[in-house]
């Protein structure tokens, strides 16, 4: 946290300095007020005759003082905001930057909803805390110390009251705060839960509606909401016991001051005006102490949020850049050497894969659901790291590349075509910003997307809604393919990304692809044999192993599984 604050130390120092100005004026004001009352109005020291002159003169001074103090206050506000909000901004940006460099298993671990809360709500809490500390904290301390100083200057005996009241207040503060603080962490967790339910419902609305589970979801939300409100309620109730107790201590102290005042005025050592001033200072001292307590509460809430943010910032991206800088001799070769992979605490998904894909080769991958097809290709751009063994691209271990250099070589069209709120052209050129309109058009044509784009009202400039809901499944896939094609990488990976295309379109797509980019290495995961039957080589994956490989015709003869798959797709008419 200091690291972030250090950058704005200038503001962070100026803010309390101006605060001292403001608080100083607040401290001087009671004395001036006492002068107005004692000398101007009551005429003490002038034989009981007030003086308008003194009132006006001192009054002017006081107003000028307050105006100066107010100006200091505003400036202090400006600087503390500059410090706190810029600090929060930096922290937010850094947290987001970190998230954007997480590995997939790291985002899996945090969950989307929680990451969102951390970058938004938690940042606000931390920001509030910093603001409070550099402004309120300093102000309170000054009022506290100054109050004691001025009060003792009036008469030392008033100090006895402060001395008695202070430990009591501190004890009460400790008692309550130690009970409240831990609840703030719980509070943020409950907030996460509420967020997650909302997020699921917003993104999964079709399913909720289709199963008519609105009431069930409402119940789920109510439960999460009740827990959140319950936690907040307990915090508020605890605070509510605290403040009356504090008030009683404060008020008893006022009575004690008056009593001491009686004695002191009795022996003529102080004036009644001083008693009034003493009461003002006393309220200031004890009020400051109470505010300090409230501040600790705010700080503990902020600290809970800061911890959650720190968790994100401290999470070092698992996938680190390698040191390889040169240009490998090969272009488009992928090799797996005894590669094993499993998700944490799960059974292996890939078991000892050995495979070489040569530059320019087209490889089709076929296999049962869950046989490890996606996991296999996910290792190439290091979306995940292999648990054991080595994956090489162009003869270099993927872990040796700088991540950027590695991913530049690979264009993936993922199973889930994620599109963004942008125009169609913007979505296609997502992997290569600044691509010329002709290039975008060309990519769209190869992906067989041009025809549907052309009938859109705004063509390429047609906006795409979040998640691409304004498009059909096949249209989304084609945009995602166009995006991959435009990226112009030496290795193209299609992870089942033509499943929503009709076969004719798919056939045209592959034909265009082969015609335009014969040199690219193409790795195509598919369910339909028709999608890959012309591949140079077809791999059949089963239970994380390569069960068979070869050309279509060879596999039909040699592989029982392949024949089964083929039969299941074209019925008894195989070979047609």
């Amino acid at each position: 946290m200091w690291k972030y604050l250090k950058k704005y130390w200038f503001y962070a120092v100026l803010a309390p300095l101006f605060m001292i100005g403001e608080a100083g004026m607040d401290l001087l004001q009671p004395a001036l007020m006492a002068t107005i009352v004692d000398e101007g109005v009551l005429g003490i020291g002038h034989g009981g005759v007030g003086s308008l002159d003194i009132i006006l003169k001192t009054g002017m001074q006081m107003v000028a003082l307050i105006a100066a103090g107010g100006a200091c206050g505003v400036l202090s506000g400006v600087f503390s905001n500059l410090a706190a909000q810029n600090f929060g901004n930096d922290m937010r940006k850094d947290a987001f930057r970190h998230i954007m460099h997480f590995s997939f298993s790291q985002t899996d671990r945090f969950t989307t909803g929680s990451l969102i809360t951390r970058v938004t709500n938690d940042v606000t809490q931390v920001q509030n805390m910093v603001q409070m500390v550099i402004r309120g904290f300093v102000r309170t301390i000054i009022l506290f110390a100054g109050g004691i100083f001025f009060m003792l200057r009036l008469d030392l005996s008033f100090g006895v009251v402060v001395l008695c009241a202070m430990p009591m207040i501190i004890l009460v503060l400790i008692f309550f705060l130690s009970r409240i603080t831990p609840r703030f962490t719980i509070l943020q967790e409950k907030l996460d839960k509420v967020n997650n339910v909302v997020q699921e419902n917003v993104t999964g609305s079709r399913v909720v509606k289709a199963y008519v589970q609105e009431d069930y979801e409402q119940g789920r939300f109510t439960k999460a909401n009740d827990e959140l409100v319950g936690t907040q309620m307990r915090i508020l109730l605890l605070l509510n016991y605290m403040s009356p107790i504090m008030n009683i201590i404060l008020n008893l102290s006022v009575i004690a001051v008056i009593w001491i005042g009686r004695i002191k005025v009795g022996d003529g050592s102080i004036t009644p005006g001083s008693v009034m001033a003493a009461i003002t200072y006393l309220s200031q001292i004890l009020g400051a102490l109470m505010r300090l307590g409230m501040m600790f509460q705010g700080i503990s809430r902020g600290a809970a949020s800061a911890r959650r943010l720190q968790e994100v910032i401290d999470t070092e991206p698992e996938i680190r850049d390698g040191s390889f800088e040169g240009e490998p001799a090969l272009r488009g070769q992928v090799e797996f050497r005894q590669v094993w992979f499993n998700y944490p605490e799960r059974d292996p998904i890939l078991s000892g894969i050995d495979l070489v894909i040569r530059p320019g080769e087209t490889v089709g991958i076929l296999g049962m659901t869950g046989s490890g097809k996606t996991s296999l290709v996910n290792l190439i751009p290091r979306f995940y790291d292999a648990t054991d063994g080595t994956v090489l691209v162009d003869g270099i271990d993927v872990k040796d590349y700088r991540l950027k250099d590695l991913r530049k070589r690979i264009a993936c069209s993922l199973q889930k075509s994620e599109l963004f709120q942008d125009s169609i052209a913007g979505n296609i050129s997502w992997g290569r910003p600044g691509a010329a309109p002709e290039e975008i058009r060309h990519a769209a044509e190869i992906a067989q997307a041009a025809e549907f784009i052309d009938i859109k009202e705004k063509g390429m400039e047609e906006p795409v809604a979040q998640g691409g809901h304004s498009l059909s499944g096949g249209q989304k896939q084609r945009l995602s393919i166009a995006r991959a094609v435009l990226k112009d990488a030496e290795i193209l990976i299609f992870d089942d990304s033509t499943s929503a295309l009709d076969l004719k379109t798919e056939a045209r797509l592959y034909e265009a692809l082969n015609r335009e980019y014969p040199d690219k290495t193409k790795i195509i995961i598919a369910q339909r044999i028709a999608s890959i039957r012309n591949a140079d080589r077809i791999l059949v994956l089963e239970d994380g192993r390569i069960a068979a490989e070869g050309k279509h015709e060879e596999l039909l003869e040699t592989s029982k599984i392949y024949r089964e798959i083929s039969d299941s797709q074209i019925g008894g008419e195989s070979g047609g």
């Binding site: 509420v194 917003v202 609305s205 509606k209 009795g266 659901t369 963004f420 929503a500 798959i565």
Partner: protein, 585 residues
Amino acid sequence: MGEVEKAKDRRGTLRRLLAYFAAEKRRVLLLLAAVAAGVLCGILAPDLQSKAIDAIAERRFSDLPGVLLIMAAVYLFSCFTSFVQGLQSAHLSQDTVRRMREDLFGCIVRLPIGYLDTHPHGDIMSRMTNDVENISSTVSQSVSSLFSGVLMVIGTVGMMIYLCPPLAALSCTTVILTAVATKFLSAAMRKAYRKRQTLLGSLNGTVEEMVSGYHTVAAYEREEAVIERFEQISNELTGVGIKAEVLGGSMGPLMNLINNVGFVIIAAFGGYFALKGMISIGVISAFIIYAKQFGRPIDEIAQVWGQIQTAIAGAERVFGVMDVEPEKAGGRINMEELGEEVEITFEHVNFSYVPGQRVLHDFNLIVKPGQKIALVGSTGSGKTTAVNLLMRFYEPDSGSIRINGTDIRQIDRDSLRDATAIVLQDTVLFADSVRSNLKYADRSVRDAEMFSFAVRANVDRMIRKLERGYSTVLTADGDNLSEGQKQLLSITRAFISKPRILILDEATSNVDTRTEKNIQDAMVKLMKGRTSLVIAHRLSTIRDADVIVVMDQGRIVEQGNHETLLEQRGKYYELYMTQFAGQQI
């Protein structure tokens, strides 16, 4: 975002916000009573204090213990009222916020699909979290201090008028100055706060979109560009935030200044009146205390004002979502009343998502009871749209869809959806156990029954291989299940709901063909006598369909079963031949 920023009806928003409190009349009354009693104590206390000091000044020391005793009693009572006040305001604020969140969620869950499809999800979520949170903290912190502040000012003014009307009138300059300053500042403040909340919404939207679409961001090394866009919004938010806060923060010093000017005015004129012998010293000292006391509530009101501005800006956004017209509930007719067998007819249905861009043209189709109907055709030909209309996710522009002759608009929407199960290409599973996910439609289903469905859908073995079998809790992001496995789970979920109409929209596209065959075999058994609609690209999936409907650009171009369509040598034949000939066509 769009529409909410226009709703600048502050008074209306405030009224609706207040309506939430009105639901808890008893608490509100109790709170107000406690606040009023507290204010009374607050007004009495300085009077007593000045009496005590008078007693000291006039050396009537024997009077002092009595005055102090009363003071102590007043203080104690005041603590008690503040306790009651805190208790009530805590309950009130939390209850209000709970209800508001629930209402908002109730609206979100009933938002039309069309709205959700076209609005950033993160922004909708931001309303639930940031905006409601804002209202929550404002209500718990500010409302009672606002009320007590106002009462305090009124009470103090009342006391002052009672003591000396001319001086009281002078004190009112403070009030007037305050009102003017507040009005001036708050307009600017509200504008800044509203802008801040909007930006916060779009910040949230970006985070949500990019974090959930992170796989694609990473695949295209767009991290830096995304970060840049985020930082741009974040910076803008910071700028607006600083402006809003500084404006809000200058309220306090300004009030302090006004208040002290007021004090000097009172002291000057009070002194003058005293010199003239118009008022006693005691009255002046009381006045001075009152004038000082004036400051605190005004200061408080000023501080609270800023918070209230944010809360109103937030409430505007919350109500903005609540005002979106929810899905139409449909008619009263229950699916049960329409008989066991289901016949679906589309009659001259026209539909467009965006006005002017028609997606379905004069769509006519009869689905006989128990039939399996397949919709095939190139992407964007309107297959999913037909399903969207049947499910009433969208409403047709013209024409009608009937079930057993009854327009679906007359059928209770929930009962229609209840009778229908849909499996989508993009699977949605919830952060819950596999068991709860499978029993999503009907939690009363017994485990044994669930197992038998799972076995028939060929998913049992896969589930049992998971770490904790059926009790494995999936994370929101699908927990490392492959897309195909997720599809299998959602198909099983559909089977378990025992639908009368089953819709599979590209539901098996990520499932391998052998598993798909097993699912189909299961479907034949499970869907016996029930109506099903299947959208698929793999023709093997739909060869056995009773009717195959070939669509092109929103129109039906061919219709018939596999054999007759092949004989026609039309579009279906073409598609079918590609299936076998692969890329060679």
